[in-house]
Symmetry: C2
Subunit: 383 residues, 2 copies
């Protein structure tokens, strides 16, 4: 039984006990910063920790600006709006992603249009996307439109799956040729580099998530990254209800959002960010430990950082060979039963009830990956 | 000069020093609960404090259920969706409100339709609303539609301005007669009672806010109140990405939101809620102190809890007589210059750039109040 071999391998890597899929680790200044924050009474939408978290995120990622918001979904919604996405546009997103990527498009009244993945990076395959666009897109004014639906295709949202950078060079070229604005969903890839540059800084805008299951957490939170000062100012304006900076008047000049990250959550984030290099090292060690433990099981492989990239290894990912794909559910069952928490890939977006009517490319690789992926316990505390 | 008399009165009530409009007070178990929360590692979307905060909110308000979310705007957006508001519907909201009330309607693709206020409660005037609907609404199937726009009018959203309960009995009768679902925006009125019953529990759903400037704060946060178990379960489902409770599959059966309140913020909220009776008493004392200090200035009056209601006195509110309305800006100027933070009412919704094209009733009272309101320093710590 392949499931038994996998359990033995995981036990040899992790030891006995129960292991969650991903747990945060608070071994730094979390308690201190949060206490200081409460003592200051500035727990809400303004405060020194929000400003500091934004500065430190920008410095860490190399983005000119970072804007802290309530979560990664909100970050992507605002980034897409700032990228020019209009109601009834189509926006290319991967079929293999968490539903938030797709929801952010929907919230703007636009339609997600699902693209296939690469086997290696798990992210959108630029060659398959180019072929698909060649067959369905036609020039219309300054943009391209989907000739099957008549709608403008306005943006491309690659997602760095489980922390592994996708083929940004290839995707930037497709975006250029089809006049798509590239907005990166880097919710899972804080700390991951593509050709030495931080994911989330290649598109016009990029977005991060600090949900409890991410490599660092603020409880709930996210951020928008951009190198464009004007867009950054606009992002801050939109995420703080678009209120004009009058001394006392309450005037809002466009429809904004209550999306600012509270200072309390930013205090936690500042402490977490200090430990990110440590977390990255732990997660890389865990990858190596899993790799050594799994090396003799021919029917599976661990997803490795793509060539030219450094991955944060957010979620360790086992991919089954076709021959044993039908044993995925058995593997999930016995691992979870024995206290080793595992999970499959997300159900592909075009098969979720609210999105079944949305346009999509042929999805052979995403459909195959969906059947073969098993995520393993991945906390930084494990190695 | 009326401004000088007001400053003298405020100084006699408050003493010397600088006074913010509203500051939170963390004199209870805030540090302890937040420390415990971090130590537990459950800082994010599940945890004991979220569950406890919801239970205690329900117990305090008398609602059957409370669902904690990221902020009051999100709470209202979800409550309106659950109340059956559809894209292109019209939703009645006060012209005199914070922009969040209006934005929540807009996010659903519906149109805000602005109603006038009462001089006494500052909330929507049921008599004026009935007259207006009589002139513009016509039956259409199960609902009424605006004959000027052809759109269905589906919901009525009273807001309890600065914490003062509006005329719920009158508004419930209008809602009944015109088949409008009543959803209460109780963002400002936690602790306020109408005929002995908590605001936010009269409509099909009601919403609260725990932003930093509110009577209790979670940093950022809000809640949905309802007596309908089915709607409560649905609210929880929608605010947690509409993920079905499978053991490991990621299946979402409708378009949901990432709106859950983090446990870290709920920990703060549990500590704040314990002190709410104290805060309410302080704010009532502050009202009495202001009232005594201002009693001899004939040109102004303090807004008092409406007859039959108990107000939380969230923001103390001075209303100028018509005769001195033109001195409002001078009053704002000199009070703020001397360290007494004051503010005017919000700019009325129909005069905000994104909403100028929306339908509205005649707004004589709201327009008059907008010119005459000055909010005073209101923190619970002041008395």
């Amino acid at each position: 039984m392949i499931a038994d071999s996998i359990i033995n391998a995981l036990r040899s890597a992790l030891g006995e006990g129960n292991f969650a899929l991903h747990e945060p680790r608070f071994t730094g200044n979390e308690q201190r910063y949060v206490q200081e924050c409460i003592a200051s009474t500035y727990v809400s939408s303004v405060g020194v920790y929000v400003d500091r978290f934004e500065k430190e995120l920008a410095a860490y990622t190399g983005a000119r600006r970072a804007i802290a918001v309530v979560n990664g979904t909100a970050a992507l919604q605002v980034a897409l709006r700032l990228s020019g996405v209009q109601a009834n546009d189509e926006v290319i997103v991967p079929a293999l992603t968490f539903v938030a990527t797709t929801n952010a498009v929907h919230y703007l009244g636009a339609l997600p249009h699902f693209a296939d993945s690469e086997e290696t990076t798990l992210g959108i395959d630029p060659r398959a996307l180019r072929d698909w666009l060649k067959s369905i897109a036609e020039p219309a004014g300054d943009a391209y439109r989907n000739r099957q639906t008549g709608r403008r295709i306005s943006a491309l949202v690659p997602m760095h799956t489980f922390g592994h950078p996708c083929d940004l060079e290839g995707l930037l070229a497709v975006a250029h040729d089809y006049r798509l604005t590239l907005v990166e969903d880097a919710a899972e890839s804080l700390g991951s580099l593509y050709q030495g540059q931080h994911t989330g800084t290649f598109g016009l805008l990029g977005t991060l998530s600090f949900n409890g299951n991410k490599i660092i957490t603020t409880g709930g939170g996210g951020a928008i990254l951009t190198n464009d000062e004007r867009l950054a100012d606009h992002a801050k304006h939109l995420t703080t209800t678009a209120k004009l900076p009058y001394r006392w008047d309450y005037v809002h000049d466009e429809v904004g959002y209550n999306f600012r990250m509270p200072n309390l959550n930013a205090a936690l984030g500042c402490a977490q960010l200090e430990q990110l290099p440590e977390f990255l090292a732990s997660k890389h060690r865990l990858f190596e430990r899993y790799q050594a433990a799994l090396v003799d099981i021919d029917e599976v492989h661990l997803v490795e950082e793509p060539s030219g990239s450094e991955s944060n290894y957010w979620l360790q990912t086992l991919v089954l060979s076709d021959a044993v794909a039908d044993q995925r559910d058995a593997i999930l069952q016995v691992t979870n039963d024995t206290g080793l928490m595992t999970r499959p890939a997300w159900r592909l977006m075009h098969r979720l009830e609210p999105y079944t009517e949305c346009p999509h490319a042929p999805l052979p690789v995403a459909e195959s990956l969906e059947r073969r992926i098993v995520n393993l316990p991945s906390s930084a505390r494990l190695a």
